[in-house]
């Protein structure tokens, strides 16, 4: 793991919860959508908060694809869940919201899970891509 890879994981961690929060804020303005009128879902994306949420989720998608290109799915998902912890810390120390004991316990569990998975290798099985040089693969495996 190098700095670039940690930054990619940070991108996955930050963009997803921020995008979800903006979508939630926007959908509260749009209102309930009935299963009988699914077309309302398509018009929901014209709401500016939903639109901004989608932009952040595109950032998440780009970082996520990059991470999946050099790490296992079972490594990327837990390793990138630090975003939930970041959101709770922002809520407590920036927005001065009350964070309950159960939430702190949740933060401790998520952090332990992240620590557990990131202390191991990011890739357990290497498939050779026809677009990569053999030297690069050798260098990555021996890293």
């Amino acid at each position: 793991m190098n700095l670039r890879k940690y930054l990619v994981l940070l991108g996955v961690s930050i963009f997803a919860p921020m995008g979800d929060s903006l979508l939630s804020y926007g959908m509260k303005q749009v209102g309930n959508i009935s299963l009988h009128h699914p077309s309302q879902l398509f018009f929901a994306i014209t709401n500016p908060w939903v639109g901004l949420g989608i932009v952040l989720l595109l950032g998440f998608f780009a970082s996520y694809m990059t991470a999946l290109s050099w790490a296992d799915l079972t490594y990327v998902l837990p390793a990138s869940s630090l975003g939930y912890v970041l959101l709770a810390l922002i809520a407590r120390f920036v927005l001065h919201e009350q964070v309950s004991l159960t939430r702190w316990l949740g933060i401790a569990l998520v952090s332990s899970g992240v620590g557990f998975v990131t202390s191991g290798p990011e890739l357990t099985k290497r498939r050779r891509s026809k677009h990569q040089h053999p030297e690069q693969i050798h260098a990555e495996v021996s890293r």
Binding site: L23, S24, I33, L41, Y75, P78, R103, V110, F116
Partner: protein, 139 residues
């Protein structure tokens, strides 16, 4: 029928029903999308290296020509609209953590059986810790 005497409870019940319907759809479509996208990216190779050597357009074309990538994006689109549907019925504090924590476990199963990743004790424990932690954070 049993909620006729208590309209507030009936509305809450309907809201929860729609929310859990959406959560199920998000978990299934998002896990399928994750597995398909992971397979596509492993076939393509390190995107950072490829972008530096061949350019962004080459990487984009490579991804768009990969059937697993296209199927994965289709599943993710379904997951996105299911999420929007769920958020229109209930709070992000229920939908987000419930869908995320169940997706961690579903992905570990998917990665083990479809991607043949070596999901050892460390990764199972990590998936369960993160999933449980996300649920606690939503309480």
């Amino acid at each position: 029928m049993m909620h006729l005497g208590d309209p507030l409870r009936a509305v809450r019940h309907l809201s929860n029903l729609h929310a859990w319907l959406a959560i199920t759809a998000v978990v299934v479509s998002s896990s399928a999308g994750d597995v398909l996208l992971s397979r596509a990216m492993k076939k393509i190779g390190d995107l950072g290296d490829l972008r530096r050597r061949r350019g962004l357009l080459f990487v984009a074309l490579l991804a768009l020509r990969n059937k697993y990538f296209l199927l994965g994006v289709g599943c993710m689109t379904l997951s996105f609209y299911s999420l929007l549907y769920g958020l229109s019925w209930n709070n992000v504090s229920l939908i987000g953590p419930a869908a995320a924590s169940l997706t961690f476990v579903a992905n570990a199963v998917g990665a083990r059986f479809f991607l043949h990743e070596h999901v050892d004790h460390r990764r199972w424990i990590a998936a369960l810790l993160v999933g449980g932690g996300v649920v606690l954070m939503a309480l």
